[in-house]
Subunit: 209 residues, 2 copies
């Protein structure tokens, strides 16, 4: 198995605009990426990882630059896999701030031609494909579309039931999840910039000093 971590290097995390400046969002997205890479590296399998980035980026992993839209870039990896052999390919999003080695080991160890980890709001936060015909389309309710796509090519489908893989960091309220559950550098980064939990409302959110 090998792992691909897609990364949008330019103008990342725009929906965090109400909470972080543009420069902070660039820095935070790299902290999140490094946390995900660290968690993958701490799994039992320690699979080789490639960051699939829209532009060159300085990280502690090999980088493959592909500036096409996300789905096209990932599908090109799947097509290379078919041409190069039958090795399983995992695709893990770079903003899974809650991901732990244990959660990733469950993903990497799950049986199935196609393994999906659903993300909040209909997303697909991680995929493992061992099937030559499976392709991704991250637009819209991708988890629903990926279930259908797996069925359409006759692939056995497994879903990994993981909160830690299900929460990605897109919006300010997600920063509360990072503070509550994150174990990498991201929660420390947020606290150093004045973020703390705000429990005054209904659902817990964050406040900044």
């Amino acid at each position: 198995m090998r792992v691909v971590v897609p990364f949008a290097a330019a103008a990342p995390k725009t929906r965090l605009g109400p909470a972080l400046s543009a420069a902070e969002r660039v820095e935070f997205s790299r902290v999140l990426l490094a946390d995900v890479l660290g968690a993958i590296d701490d799994t039992d399998r320690q699979p080789p990882v490639t960051v699939l980035s829209t532009e060159p980026v300085d990280v502690d992993a090999s980088v493959s630059v592909d500036d096409r839209p996300l789905s096209d870039a990932v599908n090109a990896v799947f097509e290379d896999r078919v041409a190069g052999g039958d090795e399983a390919v995992a695709v893990v999003m770079s903003d899974l701030a809650l991901a732990t080695p244990a959660a990733l080991d469950r993903l990497f160890g799950a049986d199935g031609d196609v393994v999906l980890a659903p993300g909040r709001g209909g997303g697909t936060n991680a995929v493992v494909s061992r099937h030559p015909g499976f392709r991704v389309d991250y637009h819209g309710a991708s988890i629903r579309d990926h279930r259908r796509a797996a069925g359409a090519v006759g692939a056995d489908l497994t879903e990994v039931d993981s909160y830690r893989l299900g929460i990605d960091v897109d919006e300010p309220e997600d920063l509360a999840e990072v503070l509550l559950h994150g174990r990498g550098a991201a929660p420390t980064w947020l606290r150093e910039r004045g973020f703390e939990l705000d429990v005054s409302g209904g659902r817990v959110s964050v406040a900044r000093e």
Copy 2:
């Protein structure tokens, strides 16, 4: 092990007000409860279940009425447990529309004096306690407080990493999760009332005909 499912019978699910009328919220909350009871009944363990309700309610399970606030009512159950023996007690929220028997089996089968299943926004969606001193406080960022409470009484703590136990149904956007991942009567109930996925925005939501 026995299971307690707290249920707020009067004026439930007020935060679903933008999506459902008051009468619909009452009906939907009972559909959610029945789904959770059905999932518990389909686990391997099939533990006995009591609905801990704020007022009498007609459901397919034994009902214990306690109109105190949630934390007080649950802690009274824990205290009864201590008086009555050392049986493990699980507390499972009634609005876990994504809960499956497999997810609940992971909860019920997890080792630890205290087992917690985190919920979105700092909540605690399910607890198993085998420790005589552990008490709950569902106010605020309860998952953080429950970690501390377990530590304060010297209880071994385990967290169950489950998306299906992590998503409760509080707000209109949560209805999309029910449509995408629910396996009980709740997604059918919503579809029959005109709800469908809306993929036109950033994160998937619901629209009603």
